[in-house]
């Protein structure tokens, strides 16, 4: 447990120092403030404004940031892992668990730190058409999507020892998955479909079963990605 906490602290230190974090957070905050001002003056619908911000700003920018940060989790320090960390009294499970908690937790915290105040301001100043439960569920759905992307990124970082390859592999899978899901007739599973339904979700109009289905599927996929990361990393030679 002590090793887990030490690596967690070390990795959070890496993330807060990262230049990606330094760019990522301002890029989310600046458009959010602008949208609050516009929504207040133009009397925009809160649900549409929230959904537009998520679709046009947060998901693309955060998606890219999470893809890079998660894909660099293991591959970004391939030399240091063996020399500085795993040759000491640390198990691979402890190392992997700390990395996953740190990278996914960091993503979730940044997302919620931006979205909770932003959602409050939008609900407060834009034309109110949302339900509290709808907003909470909508925000959690997007959080789950980002978490899944992060988990998949970590899986790729255990597969490749080069960060660039890991990022490219992840982006390729994300792009190809859209085509595959369309081919299989499972478009409801795609990120696009979930984002498209967000205004309704914020208003509390999305059927419960649809939401449960999205939560179940993406939770299962996240769990599968995490399990794969553990397995791949345990089998890998360092």
């Amino acid at each position: 447990m002590q090793a887990f906490l030490a690596i967690l602290r070390y990795d959070l230190g890496l993330l807060t120092r990262s230049w990606i974090t330094r760019i990522w957070v301002p890029l989310l905050i600046a458009p959010a403030l602008f949208l609050v001002a516009v929504a207040a003056n133009e009397d925009e619908l809160a649900s549409e404004t929230l959904a537009a911000y998520l679709a046009a700003v947060l998901i693309p920018i955060s998606g890219l940031a999470v893809a890079v940060l998660a894909s660099a989790a293991v591959s970004g320090e391939s030399g240091i892992i063996a020399d500085g960390i795993l040759s000491r009294s640390v198990t691979r499970s402890e190392y992997m668990a700390a990395k996953i908690v740190s990278r996914l937790g960091f993503t979730a915290v940044i997302y919620l730190l931006v979205m909770i105040p932003f959602s409050y301001l939008i609900i407060r100043y834009a034309a109110p058409d949302t339900s509290l439960a709808g907003v909470v569920v909508g925000l959690l759905v997007v959080c789950l999507l980002l978490t899944f992307l992060g988990a998949l990124g970590i899986t790729f970082s255990t597969l490749f020892s080069n960060v660039l390859l890991a990022v490219l592999g992840l982006l390729l899978v994300v792009v190809l998955s859209g085509f595959v899901l369309q081919f299989l007739g499972l478009t409801w599973m795609s990120t696009t479909a979930v984002v498209y339904a967000l205004p309704d979700t914020f208003r509390g109009h999305t059927p419960v079963w649809d939401l449960v289905r999205v939560f179940l599927v993406f939770s299962a996929l996240t769990a599968a990605a995490i399990a794969t990361s553990f397995w791949v990393f345990r089998e890998r030679d360092l």
């Binding site: 002590q2 090793a3 030490a6 000491r88 009294s89 360092l238």
Partner: protein, 347 residues
Amino acid sequence: MHVVQTTDLTKIYDNRYIALNALDLRVEKGTVFGLVGPNGAGKSTTFRILLGLQKPTAGQVQVLGEPMTAERADIRRRIGYLPTNPSFPRYMTPIGFLEFVGSVIGLSQDRAKVQLARLLQAVDLTNAASQKIEGFSTGMMTRLGIAAALMNDPELLILDEPTSGLDPAGRKQTIELIRELTGRDRTIIIATHILSDVERVCSDVGIISQGRMIYAGPMADMRRLARQGTISVEIEGNTTAFEQQIHTLDEIGSVRYERLGAEFRLTFLGTQALTEYITRVLQLIDRTGVELLHINTGADEIEEAFLRRLEEDRTRGFLRAAAWAATQEISGAKEESDAGIPGHPAV
């Protein structure tokens, strides 16, 4: 007690490259063991398997009396490891890094601080304690690596090429540091291809070539082996007469020689004492009337022994393979007979 014991340790990468080939390594407690071999011989792979960083393809590994795997953090807690040209988090300072190592191995904050201050002083990095690691030279990285390896006061210390990339002063300093670490029941394994380093600090030596241990034993035996029967003489005068009479030395053991200008290198394959060979060579010099300019019985002795072992191993490759196959056949037949397989009744 063997602190490290490997049996038939084999590592094959991607079914393409054989890094370790049935390696048998035994390291006794309290010894300073030098693992010597050319680049690519399998030294670093051996260490990575000993630490559980890599999985063996076949064979057994026991470290501190227990089988080693990736999840055996409890065994690694008792080991210190210095990798070749180590890479550590570049943004950290030595204090930050050693604190991190201390927290990973479960030292309390206070204990870690005391330990890191003591070690930074021992490795002469106190003045660089506030610098970021990214500005460190190779020598400073090695010294920091040694400090990190000693944070847990290990029973077993594994040093992979500790003098690699260091200038003569840095090398001397590192060797002195390693010397200071010997004793107190601590076992040290040093991999290197610099033979003079081994000669200076090791009590035991193993020669690894193409992933196999071709010699292992006390350093004193290695020296004896090197000295055994090789005498170089540089002479002046009627060297032809001397050369023609070398065969007369055969009576005290088969002799081979090679001539390099005025220097004759005589190798005796017998079992007599070295002094006996020297006496006979001096008698021959006297008899043939040549003038002795220089006589040498042990210069570069370790290097000589090392190269001789490598050469013998290469020339005996097929004989060795045949002997191994025969051993396998015998043990296979024995197992069959022990099991009482029909048609192969137990004796």
